[in-house]
C-alpha cells in the first residue's frame, strides 16, 4: 500500500479491482465510506462477481476473470485520446509511457468490450468518472494477483495511476489490501524463497552482509549449504513445493541440489488453502517427516494418509507472545501479550530456538540480538549476556534492514506508538501531543531513530524528513540513451538537489550532495546506504533533504521481464478459446522456483471450455480468514457459516437440475472434484460460480474429519475449493491462478 486506509478519505474517486473490502477488510472499509461522505468520492468496482463492495459502488463493471489488463488499457485508450493524462508528471517522473500509449491505442472500447465482457459505454463512463475526479486511489487484492499474468496486472495498475498523475499524492496511490495481519511484515522479513530479509535478494554480497550482521563467518554459512551456488538460487515456493517430493507423479523436472524434498516443517500456514490440493496431498503422503506447528490442528495432518512421523506441535497464539506486526499501510504496531501460553503451547520462537539448540547452531543463530552498531561504523557486543525476546530481535531487525528504512523501528518507539494510539489523526496518521512530528506506526521508510515515518510513498510535496521522496533509483542511470532519473524540477520539497539523482553511495556522496567528508567520516562510512553501519549516508542525506535511494523515474517498461510492458494473455483455462491464439500464454518455464512450470503446453492441450464451460472464482467470507481453521474453531463464528457452499445463479442451477440447498459436484479439468451445497445467488452470472476457500476436512466427497485427534475437530468442516482450482502459476512470483479457472458442475 503506497498510502493508508485513512488517506483514502482524501480520495475523490476510488477504483477497486479484484478486491472486496466490505467483506474482507470490513473495518478498513469505513474509510472508503467516509471518503464518500466527505468528498462525494465515486466508488467504482471492477469484479467478476457482484460483491458486497459492488453493492456500495456508484458504478460497477462485471468483468470476465483475467481480463484486467485489457480493461485498464481501455481506460488509457480513452485517457490518451482525450488528453486527460498528466503529461507534465509523466514526462518528469515516468520512463516508457510512450510504449504504453502505443499498446493502449489497440484497445479501443469495442475491442475491450469483446475481451472483458464490459460494454463500451460502461468503460467510457467509468474512465470519465475516474479521470475527472482526482486524486483517485486504485485498490486491489488477490483478484488482481492470482493469475498467470498476476505480475503484469500489478504493473498495469500503477501505470494507470502514473498516467493520471495519481502516484505520490495524498488521496491517490496504489493501495493493495493485504490478506493476513502480517503479510506485509512477514514479506519484509524475507519469509521467502527468493530473498533474504529486507529484499536484499540472494546474491553473494547480500549473504556476506548478513553473515557480518549476524556475527558469523560467511564461510560458516556456506558450509551449511550444499555449496555456495545454492545460496544464490531461489528455493521452492509455497505454491509448488509438492512437485519436489519423491514419488509425486509429475513430468515437471525439478532442480533441487540433487535431492528430493523429504521433510516439511510448517509453522502457522494453512496449506489446505493452496491450489492443487490433490497434488499437495500426494506430496504430504510421500514425505519422510511432516511437522505442523499451530494453535489448532493444521488440517494438512488430516488430509494426508501418511501413517508415521507426522508431528503436530501446539504453537501459542499471537496473544500469548509479543512482538510487532505491520499493517497493510506499512505501519508497525506492538502486539502486547495478553496471557501466558495455555496448555502446553509454546510461542513460535521457542520452538525454533529449541530446534536450533538440538541442531547445534543456537549460539550463532541468536548472536545478532546481542550486537549493536557503533557511530564509527563498527559492530560491537551489547553489555549483556542473554537476549530479551522480542525487543532484542526488534532492534536487530532495525539495525540490519536498511533497504526499506527500518532503522527507526526500535522496540521502544513502536511500543510508544501503540501506547499512544489515541494521539493520532485518523485521516493523515499525524501525531499530536507527545507524538507530534511522527505518523502512526512510523510507516516505512523510517530512515532514522528520529524520523517520523513516510505516510505516502513517492510524495514529492513534502520534505524527506517528513516522509517525502521521489521514485527509487534501482535500475541504472539510463536505458537505451534515455535518462532514468527524474527530470529537472521534480524533487522532494526542500531538497538541496533540484533534479533527479542516483542512489547515494560512499563513492558518490560528496559529488551528489556537494559536501566534503572528514577522514573519520570516510573511515566509518559503509559502501552504500543499504549496508552502512554508521548510518552516516542516511544522516547526511536527511541534512540535505535528499532521499538516500535516489530520485528516479518509475519504469513503465521492465526490460528484464518476459513482457516488457504488461500484455494481455488469456488464462491457461480460458472460456474464450477463440481469443487464445491472439493472446497466448507464456512459453513453459524451466526451473521456476526449482520446478518446470507449464504455460502454453497446458493452455494449448485442448479446448477446455467445451467440457468445462463455467468460470470459477474463489474468495473470502466475512466470517473467516485464510484456511479458516482459526474461525471454524470458534463455535460462535462457525455457526454463522457452518457449511461449505457454492454460489450459483438460479438459471445455471436450473439447467443442471440443482435445487437451492441441494448438493452438487464441481469438477476440474485436472480430474478432481468436490461435493458442495448449492446456494442460489444473483451475485454471479449464469456462466460462473463462486466458492469460499476457508474450508477443509473433506476431500473429493469423503469426510476425513475422523482423522482429527480427539477433542481437536473444529466446529465446521467442508471441501477445500482448492481441490478444484485449476493448474496455473504466475510467471514471476509463481502465485497460483485461482481467479480464472474453469469447471463443470452436476447434481450430486
Amino acid at each position: 500500500m503506497t498510502n493508508s486506509l485513512g488517506d483514502i478519505q482524501k480520495s475523490k474517486a476510488i477504483i477497486i479491482f479484484g478486491s472486496n473490502p466490505a467483506v474482507n477488510h470490513p473495518v478498513g472499509f469505513q474509510h472508503f465510506l467516509k471518503a464518500k461522505e466527505r468528498n462525494n468520492a465515486q466508488i467504482i468496482v471492477i469484479d467478476p462477481r457482484f460483491t458486497k463492495t459492488a453493492a456500495k459502488a456508484d458504478i460497477y463493471a462485471q468483468i470476465r476473470p483475467g481480463t484486467d489488463i485489457p480493461f485498464m488499457y481501455g481506460m488509457l485508450n480513452i485517457i490518451f485520446k482525450n488528453g486527460w493524462e498528466d503529461k507534465e508528471y509523466t514526462d518528469a517522473r515516468v520512463f516508457g509511457m510512450d510504449k504504453i500509449r502505443e499498446e493502449a491505442a489497440k484497445w479501443t472500447p469495442e475491442v475491450v468490450a469483446d475481451v472483458t465482457g464490459v460494454p463500451a459505454e460502461k468503460l467510457i463512463q467509468i474512465t470519465n468518472i475516474y479521470a475527472k475526479n482526482r486524486p483517485g486511489t486504485l485498490i486491489w487484492a488477490m483478484g488482481l494477483t492470482q493469475h498467470t499474468i498476476g505480475t503484469s496486472n500489478t504493473r498495469m495498475a500503477p501505470i494507470l495511476q502514473l498516467a493520471l498523475g495519481n502516484m505520490g499524492k495524498a488521496g491517490g496511490g496504489t493501495n493493495i489490501l493485504r490478506g493476513h495481519d502480517n503479510v506485509q511484515g512477514a514479506t519484509d522479513m524475507g519469509c521467502l524463497s527468493d530473498s533474504l530479509p529486507g529484499y536484499y535478494g540472494l546474491a553473494e554480497g547480500s549473504w556476506k552482509y548478513f553473515a557480518k550482521q549476524w556475527g558469523v563467518d560467511y564461510e560458516y554459512l556456506v558450509a551449511q549449504f550444499k555449496d555456495a551456488s545454492w545460496m544464490t538460487k531461489t528455493g521452492f515456493s509455497l505454491a509448488r513445493w509438492w512437485a519436489g517430493v519423491q514419488n509425486v507423479k509429475t513430468d515437471e523436472k525439478i532442480e533441487n541440489a540433487g535431492t528430493f524434498l523429504k521433510a516439511l516443517i510448517v509453522m502457522g500456514n494453512g496449506i489446505t488453502s493452496v491450489a492443487q490440493q490433490a497434488k499437495i496431498k500426494e506430496g504430504l503422503d510421500n514425505l519422510d517427516l511432516l511437522v505442523l506447528a499451530d494453535p489448532f490442528v493444521n488440517e494438512a495432518a488430516i488430509l494426508t494418509d501418511k501413517k508415521d512421523n507426522v508431528f503436530i506441535l501446539p504453537a501459542a497464539t499471537q496473544f500469548e507472545t509479543s512482538g510487532y506486526v505491520v499493517a497493510t499501510n506499512r505501519s508497525a504496531q506492538w502486539r502486547y501479550k495478553v496471557v501466558e501460553p495455555l496448555y502446553e503451547s509454546k510461542p513460535d520462537q521457542e520452538i525454533m530456538f529449541e530446534l536450533a539448540k538440538r541442531l547445534g547452531f543456537y549460539e550463532q543463530y541468536t548472536k545478532g540480538m546481542l550486537m549493536v552498531e557503533t557511530p564509527e561504523g563498527k559492530l560491537a557486543m551489547k553489555d549483556k549476556k542473554a537476549f530479551t525476546w522480542p525487543e532484542d530481535a526488534t532492534d536487530e531487525i532495525a539495525r540490519i534492514i536498511k533497504t526499506i528504512g527500518l532503522t527507526g523501528w526500535t522496540a521502544e518507539r513502536i511500543k510508544k506508538h501503540t501506547d499512544n494510539w489515541h494521539m493520532f489523526d485518523e485521516v493523515t496518521g499525524a501525531g499530536m501531543g507527545p507524538m507530534k512530528g511522527e505518523f502512526y506506526g512510523l510507516p516505512w521508510p523510517c530512515w532514522t531513530k528520529t524520523h517520523g515515518g513516510s505516510p505516502n510513498l513517492y510524495d514529492t510535496s513534502i520534505p524527506v524528513s517528513q516522509g517525502g521522496m521521489g521514485f527509487r533509483n534501482n535500475f541504472g542511470l539510463e536505458k537505451d540513451g534515455v535518462n532514468l532519473l527524474a527530470e529537472k524540477g521534480s524533487f522532494p520539497k526542500g531538497s538541496k538537489i533540484e533534479t533527479g539523482h542516483a542512489e547515494v553511495t560512499k563513492a558518490n556522496i560528496e559529488a551528489v550532495l556537494g559536501i566534503t567528508l572528514t577522514e573519520a567520516e570516510k573511515a566509518a562510512m559503509g559502501a552504500n546506504w543499504k549496508v552502512d553501519n554508521s548510518n552516516l549516508i542516511v544522516q547526511k542525506c536527511m541534512e540535505a533533504g535528499v532521499c538516500p535511494y535516489g530520485n528516479a523515474k518509475a519504469r513503465a517498461i521492465v526490460w528484464n521481464f518476459p513482457d516488457h510492458i504488461p500484455m494481455h494473455r488469456e488464462p491457461l483455462h480460458s472460456p474464450r478459446t477463440d481469443l487464445v491464439a491472439k493472446y497466448p500464454a507464456y512459453a513453459d518455464k524451466a526451473n521456476h522456483f526449482r520446478v518446470m512450470t507449464k504455460y502454453i503446453s497446458v493452455q494449448s492441450a485442448k479446448d477446455y471450455a467445451k467440457e468445462f464451460p463455467i468460470n470459477m472464482v474463489t474468495g473470502r467470507l466475512v466470517t473467516m480468514n485464510g484456511a479458516g481453521i482459526e474461525n471454524r474453531a470458534s463455535k460462535y463464528i462457525a455457526a454463522l457459516t457452518p457449511e461449505m457452499f457454492c454460489n450459483i445463479h438460479p438459471d445455471l442451477a436450473h439447467t443442471h437440475g440443482i435445487k437451492n440447498g441441494a448438493m452438487m459436484w464441481v469438477h476440474s479439468p485436472e480430474g478432481t472434484k468436490i461435493k458442495v451445497k448449492a446456494k442460489y445467488s444473483l451475485s454471479v452470472l449464469p456462466d460462473m460460480v463462486f466458492m469460499p476457500f476457508h474450508f477443509a476436512g473433506y476431500f473429493q466427497g469423503t469426510d476425513r474429519t475422523g482423522n482429527f485427534p480427539a477433542g481437536t475437530k473444529p466446529y465446521a468442516s467442508g471441501e477445500s475449493v482448492n481441490t478444484v482450482t485449476n493448474y496455473g502459476y504466475d510467471i514471476i512470483t509463481q502465485i497460483p491462478e485461482t481467479k480464472g479457472g474453469l469447471c463443470r458442475i452436476e447434481k450430486a
Binding site: H180, P197, P390, I735
Partner: protein
C-alpha cells in the same frame, strides 16, 4: 445452508451480548465446582459495573486481517475474561468485524491443540515436547547429512510477528537452504 444460517442468526444475539455471554461462560467455568443448588443471586450494581475486579486492560492488535484493528483485552488473574473494541484506535475507530470481535476465542477455544502429538502406525499419540523436538531434530540432522539441507522445506507464516518471521527466515539460512516461503506467495 440458508436455513441453518438463519437459525444461527435467530438464536445468536448481538455482538456485545455475545461478548458478555462469553465472559459469563468463563465465570461459570471457573466457579462450577461450587455451583450446587440455589447458589446464584442477582449481581450487584457494583458487580455489573465492574465484573472483574482487579483486572487489567491490555492493548493489542487483531490477527484476522491486515487492517490492524485495536483490541482491548481484559485480563484477570492471568485469564482473558473479556474483550472490547478500541474506540480510540486511529485505524479501527472502535470498529470490529465478527472475526475481530471473537479474538478471545483464538485463545479460549476448546478445540485447541493442547500438547504435542505424533502419528505412529496411523494412530495419534501424545508425547512430551522434549521427545518431539529430539525426534524432529534427529531426523532433520540425518537428512541434512545424507541428502543435504535442500531435502527440507520450511513454510512460515504471515500470522507471525516480524521478529518471528525474521527468525524463521534466519533458521532456514542457518540450516542451509532457500527452501522457505510463506503465504505472501498466494
Amino acid at each position: 445452508m440458508e436455513n441453518s444460517t438463519a437459525r444461527a442468526l435467530a438464536t445468536t444475539v448481538g455482538r456485545r451480548s455475545f461478548l458478555k455471554m462469553a465472559a459469563v461462560a468463563s465465570v461459570f467455568g471457573a466457579t462450577s465446582g461450587f455451583a450446587s443448588g440455589n447458589v446464584t443471586r442477582a449481581a450487584t450494581d457494583a458487580e455489573v459495573k465492574n465484573p472483574f475486579p482487579g483486572s487489567k486492560k491490555v492493548k493489542t492488535i487483531c490477527t484476522s486481517c491486515s487492517v490492524g484493528c485495536g483490541v482491548i483485552a481484559e485480563v484477570q488473574n492471568g485469564v482473558w475474561v473479556r474483550q472490547e473494541v478500541a474506540q480510540d484506535h486511529p485505524i479501527s475507530l472502535g470498529g470490529h468485524c465478527c472475526k475481530g470481535a471473537d479474538m478471545i476465542d483464538m485463545v479460549k477455544s476448546e478445540v485447541r491443540l493442547k500438547y504435542p502429538m505424533v502419528k505412529e502406525n496411523g494412530q495419534w499419540k501424545r508425547l512430551s515436547w522434549d521427545d518431539a523436538l529430539n525426534r524432529i531434530a534427529t531426523k532433520l540432522a540425518e537428512l541434512k547429512k545424507n541428502d543435504g539441507a535442500d531435502s527440507v522445506q520450511f513454510l512460515g507464516s504471515a500470522k507471525m510477528s516480524n521478529e518471528q518471521a525474521y527468525y524463521f527466515r534466519k533458521f532456514a539460512a542457518f540450516f542451509g537452504t532457500n527452501n522457505t516461503d510463506h503465504q505472501a506467495r498466494i
